[in-house]
Each structure stands twice: as structure tokens, then as C-alpha cells.
Amino acid sequence: MANNTTHTIEYQSLSKTLLILLFLTFVTITIASVHLGAFTLAVALLIACVKSFIVLSNFMHLKYESLLLRILVGMVFVLFALIVAITFIDYAFR
């Protein structure tokens, strides 16, 4: 059952990923000073999710894994989104 295939990623590709992550961190910091009202949290979470996805996909080699594993990790994102959304059913309608 084991999938023991190894993958080597070029330093160039890893560097690009790092730069994208740093750029998104810069966006997160910058956007904190922009008044977005109710969307402040949503935007921050969205950027965090994109960064997590990039880390999982590139640094953690998820893009080379089986479809089943990718679906399972995707389900985690869906679950997280659901938990946040349901929590806000309380705060939004209080």
C-alpha cells in the first residue's frame, strides 16, 4: 500500500514559492491598515488559506500525492471554512 516515491524540487521553484509567500505576508500586513469593515477577517483568512495551500502543495509535496490524499486535505479546508461560517451564524445574527 505504501507510496514511497520521492520527488526532488528545484531550488529555483522553491525560491519562487518563498517569494510568493513573502509577498502574501506583505499583503496581509498592508491590508491590515486598510479599512474593510466586516470583510477584514474574511480577507485575512482568505490570504492565510492561500498561503497554507501553497505550503502544502509545494513545500509538503502534496501536488505529487495521490488524488485521495489531495481530496482529504481539501476536505480539511472545507471543514475549516464551515466551522468559521457556522461560528459567524451566531455573531452575525445576534
Partner: protein, 536 residues
């Protein structure tokens, strides 16, 4: 069935010490079976302490007013009882003990994927447990918040909340690492031919549980860190006086702690699903439905936390939404109960102690589950919220469910774990006393709860005394049964007659290898050809 090769140069894992000797051969063990036993001995120690604390509470509740302790002491006793039983007994209980021991064997593996990480998980568990015990004896006094650490009280009380929450935080890491280990083990180490849908159902339950451990436990970790930060640095997360919101604590706490109920219950359901086909000599009814229902419980169970907060000031929209989801999560649980009972129909039933414990589990779980529906409905919940009714429901699920499933599991697998049998007659006597004591202890709490007896109160009006007396007597009977049961099992494990490889005529892989198993479980990797419950 499968092709299984017994070890030709058989050495039991109990006799194989590796490069260490004496107690170090246990503390440094990486064998999943030895680690399972380490967990079991630790957990049983904390269980016994938890039972003593429970009996102290029952003694206090024998009469109205102060009986053996003051109110503040009572608060500390039920807090410690809760912390010990929840974080150190029932959450790790089944998955850390029987999951560790039997998951690799069930899937035809030699060990878990990360044996050293497995050992590290137990070490962390011990460190967290020591911290929890220290929180009771350090100078600020034992925490008095209850196991839920609700803010804002937990942010202001002078008791040792930081140490207790730090202990729960550390214990959480043990749970996360165990869950991670199990997920990787199931994905990577299944024997050739073993697809997901011909894996036994106990690993299925452990798989669903492991995802909860992995995904939900970090939430409580962060929450407890936020609580510590608020106490230490006055950062306003939860205390309204600091600009915080106490409901945020409750949301975060229950986002973990409700799924944690399924960390306790899913392996329990997995145990029962193993026992019933074996003692009925029948293929489990609706294999796929039982397997998928474990995932469904884990998935939907993540989304129902708000039913603990109906009276906390949540929005009405959230209340009906959580109520709806709570009723939905009852469906996969009911599917399991239906399938267990249907499996028994026309079965060739062999009435032995593990099967009787499984029957007791089903009976108690049905009571716990149906009273849970009463609590899931907003209209009825607000009437009994924070009453003894909740205490009764909770204990029917956790003790009647997980506890009796643990007892069923140890009666089922002890011959395999120790290679010895126990006295069936004594085991049955213990079971009957446990069952009577349990119901006498907790059923009256339903009645006085509906009548308005609050939970966590050390005092009560005289009209509740008859029920409290019955409940306390039930507690003493239950302890008697537990003593008989533990004595019978310890005696069996030490001096019982040698157990055959397959004393119950089971069909899963653990029954195809010697009792007790060898260090590497299988001489050769088994090849799986058919479903695990082939009783044709």
C-alpha cells in the same frame, strides 16, 4: 480470511526486552503493543483516582448541606474528577490502548508508521498527566472551574488554572501525534490486498477518530493558550471587562470538545462492531454503512458544538441551526445500533463476558443517545440545561458508552494481549454488579435533573435526598463491581490458564496469530483475500 504465517521462532512481545532491561525495556519500548500496555497502566491509575474522587462526591451528596467537604473543596473535586477522567482516561482510553495494540495487527502491519513518535506520544502523555496532578497541589490551590475552564471565571479565579490548562495543552499534543500516526499507518501500511473496504471496522473507527484528534485538538490548544495569555498578560480575548467575549471561549472550547466526545465514542463503537460478529459468528450487517457512518459521525460531529451553548446568549438563528445539525448527527449513530442488532438476528450467539458487555453498552448507549436528543432540541434543552439531567446523559454516553466498551474490549482482547484466560463466572458477576450499580448511580440524576436539581452544586433541597441516596448507593455498588472486575482481569492476566490463539473463533487477523503476539506480529506479511468477517 487471509493467508497468515505464524512465527516459526516465536518469542512473545512480553518476553522480548530488546536492548534495555527491567522497567527501561518498557519506558524505551517502541513496540506498539508495549506502548499500548504503558497507556493502559497509566490510564487505569488515573481511572482509579477519578473513581475515588467520584465516590467522594457521592459521599458529599448523601445528605443536604455539608457532609464531608465544603463547597470550595467540592468544586475542586469535581474539577479534578473531570480533568482526570476526560483528558487522561476517556479521550486517550480506547484509541491509545486498544488502537495502539490492535490497529497494526488488524491491517497486517508489524507496527505503526512512526514507532518512536508513538513512544514520544506516551512520554508527552505522562508529562501532561504529571502537570495536571501538580496543578492540584501547588500553592494557589486546585482549580475550581470545572473541566470546561469557562471564561471569564477561569480568567479571574486565583486557583491554579494556568497549570491545569497547560497540562491539557500538553496532553493534546499526545492526542495529535497518536492521530497522525494512525492516519499514516492506515494509509501506508495496510497488508497487500487490504483495500479500505475490506479493512476491519475497528481500524475504520480509529481512522475517523484520528482525523478528529488531528484537526480538532489544535483548537483547544490555541484556546487554552489564549486563556493563559489573558490571565498572564491581560489580553482581552474572553473577559468583557478587557473587551473580550466569553462566548468566544465557549465556541472555541466546544469546537474541540464536542468532536472530542466522538474521540471517546467512535473507538468504542469500533470495539462493539468487532465483538458482535465474533460472538454471533455472522458477517456484520451493512459493513459499508457501518464504515461510512464512522466518517459521517466524525464529519458532522465537527459542526454541532453549539448545542452546548443554547442558554449562553447565542443568536436564535445559530440555536436552530445547531439543533438541526445535532439531530442529523444522531442518524449515523442510529445506523450503527441498527446494524449491531441486525447482525445478532439469526446469529449463532455465544454468550461470553465480552458479548454481555457489548449488550450492556448498547442498552446504556441507547439511553444516553435518546436523552441526547432531548438536549439537542432547543425547547427542551433550556429546561434541563446545567441540571443533573445533563450529568446523567453525559455519564450514560461516556461511562455507559466508552467505559463499558473499554470493559468489553479488555474482556475480548485480554487473552490475546496476555496469552491467558480469565474466570468467566467472576467476570459475569462483575458485569452484573457494574450494570446495576451504574444504573442506580446515574438514572436518578435524570429524574432530579428534570425536577430542577442543578449540577455542580454541593447542596440541595431535602426533596432530592431519596434520589441522591439511591444514586450514592449505586456509586458504592458500582465500585464493588469495578473491584471484582479488575481483580478478575488482573488475576487472569497473571495466573489464568494459557489462552489459545483464537478463543472466541474470531475471523480478524489478531486471532490468526499466537497469543500473546510476537514482537513483529507476523512472520510474513499477510495477504488479504476476503472481507474481515467471513463466517461462512
Amino acid at each position: 480470511m487471509s493467508n497468515v504465517s505464524a512465527n516459526s521462532e516465536y518469542v512473545s512481545y512480553l518476553d522480548h526486552h530488546g536492548k534495555y532491561k527491567g522497567i527501561m525495556s518498557w519506558i524505551m519500548a517502541t513496540d506498539h503493543k508495549r506502548i499500548a500496555l504503558l497507556y493502559m497502566y497509566s490510564i487505569m491509575t488515573f481511572f482509579i483516582i477519578g473513581v475515588v474522587l467520584g465516590i467522594m462526591m457521592k459521599l458529599e451528596m448523601l445528605t443536604p448541606g455539608e457532609t464531608i467537604m465544603k463547597a470550595k473543596m467540592y468544586n475542586s473535586v469535581f474539577t479534578l474528577h473531570g480533568i482526570l477522567m476526560i483528558f487522561m482516561v476517556v479521550i486517550p482510553g480506547l484509541s491509545a490502548v486498544f488502537g495502539n495494540f490492535f490497529l497494526p495487527i488488524h491491517i497486517g502491519a508489524k507496527d505503526v508508521s512512526f514507532p518512536k513518535l508513538n513512544r514520544f506520544s506516551w512520554w508527552i502523555f505522562v508529562v501532561g498527566s504529571i502537570m495536571a496532578v501538580l496543578s492540584q497541589v501547588l500553592k494557589d490551590g486546585p482549580p475550581d472551574t470545572g473541566w470546561t475552564f469557562y471564561a471569564p471565571y477561569s480568567t479571574t479565579t486565583s486557583s491554579n488554572v494556568i497549570m491545569a490548562t497547560a497540562a491539557a495543552f500538553v496532553l493534546g499534543f499526545s492526542s495529535i501525534l497518536t492521530g497522525l500516526n494512525f492516519i499514516v499507518t492506515i494509509h501506508q501500511l495496510r497488508a497487500p490486498g487490504m483495500k479500505f473496504f475490506n479493512m476491519p471496522l475497528f481500524p475504520w473507527a480509529l481512522y475517523a477518530t484520528a482525523w478528529i484528534q488531528l484537526l480538532a485538538t489544535p483548537v483547544i490548544g490555541i484556546t487554552l493558550l489564549m486563556l493563559i495569555a489573558e490571565r498572564a498578560f491581560h489580553i482581552g480575548f474572553f473577559d468583557p471587562a478587557l473587551g473580550g467575549d466569553p462566548l468566544l471561549f465557549q465556541h472555541l472550547f466546544w469546537i474541540y470538545s464536542h468532536p472530542a466526545v466522538y474521540v471517546m465514542m467512535l473507538p468504542a463503537m469500533g470495539v462493539i462492531t468487532e465483538i458482535i460478529p465474533t460472538f454471533c459468528q455472522r458477517q456484520i450487517y451493512g459493513y459499508k454503512a457501518v464504515a461510512v457512518s464512522s466518517l459521517a459521525i466524525a464529519g458532522v460531529g465537527f459542526l454541532v458544538w453549539g448545542h452546548h451553548m443554547y442558554t449562553s446568549g447565542m443568536s436564535d438563528t445559530a440555536r436552530w441551526f445547531f439543533s438541526l445539525l445535532t439531530f442529523i448527527v444522531a442518524v449515523p449513530s442510529a445506523i450503527k445500533v441498527f446494524n449491531w442488532i441486525t447482525t445478532m438476528y439469526k446469529g449463532s450467539i455465544d454468550v461470553k463476558p465480552p458479548f454481555l458487555y457489548a449488550l450492556a453498552f448498547i442498552f446504556l448507549f441507547i439511553i444516553g443517545g435518546t436523552t441526547g436528543l432531548l438536549l439537542g432540541s432547543v425547547a427542551t434543552n433550556v429546561q434541563v440545561h446545567d441540571t443533573a439531567f445533563v450529568v446523567a446523559h453525559f455519564h450514560y454516553i461516556i461511562f455507559g458508552g466508552m467505559g463499558f466498551a473499554f470493559f468489553a474490549a479488555i474482556h475480548y482482547w485480554l487473552p490475546k494481549m496476555y496469552g491467558r484466560m480469565y474466570d468467566f463466572k467472576m467476570a459475569n458477576i462483575g458485569l452484573v454488579i457494574n450494570f446495576i450499580g451504574f444504573n442506580l448511580l446515574y438514572f436518578p440524576q435524570f429524574v432530579i435533573g428534570i425536577q430542577g436539581m442543578p449540577r455542580r452544586y454541593f447542596d440541595y433541597p431535602a426533596k432530592f435526598q431519596p434520589a441522591q441516596l439511591v444514586s450514592s448507593i449505586g456509586g458504592f455498588i458500582l465500585v464493588t463491581g469495578l473491584i471484582i472486575m479488575i481483580y478478575t482481569l488482573v488475576k487472569g492476566a497473571r495466573k489464568g490458564a494459557p489462552a489459545p490463539a483464537n478463543p472466541w473463533r474470531g475471523s480478524t487477523l489478531e486471532w490468526q496469530i499466537p497469543s500473546p503476539p510476537s514482537v513483529e506480529n507476523f512472520d510474513e506479511e499477510p495477504v488479504i483475500k476476503e472481507n474481515p468477517y467471513d463466517y461462512k
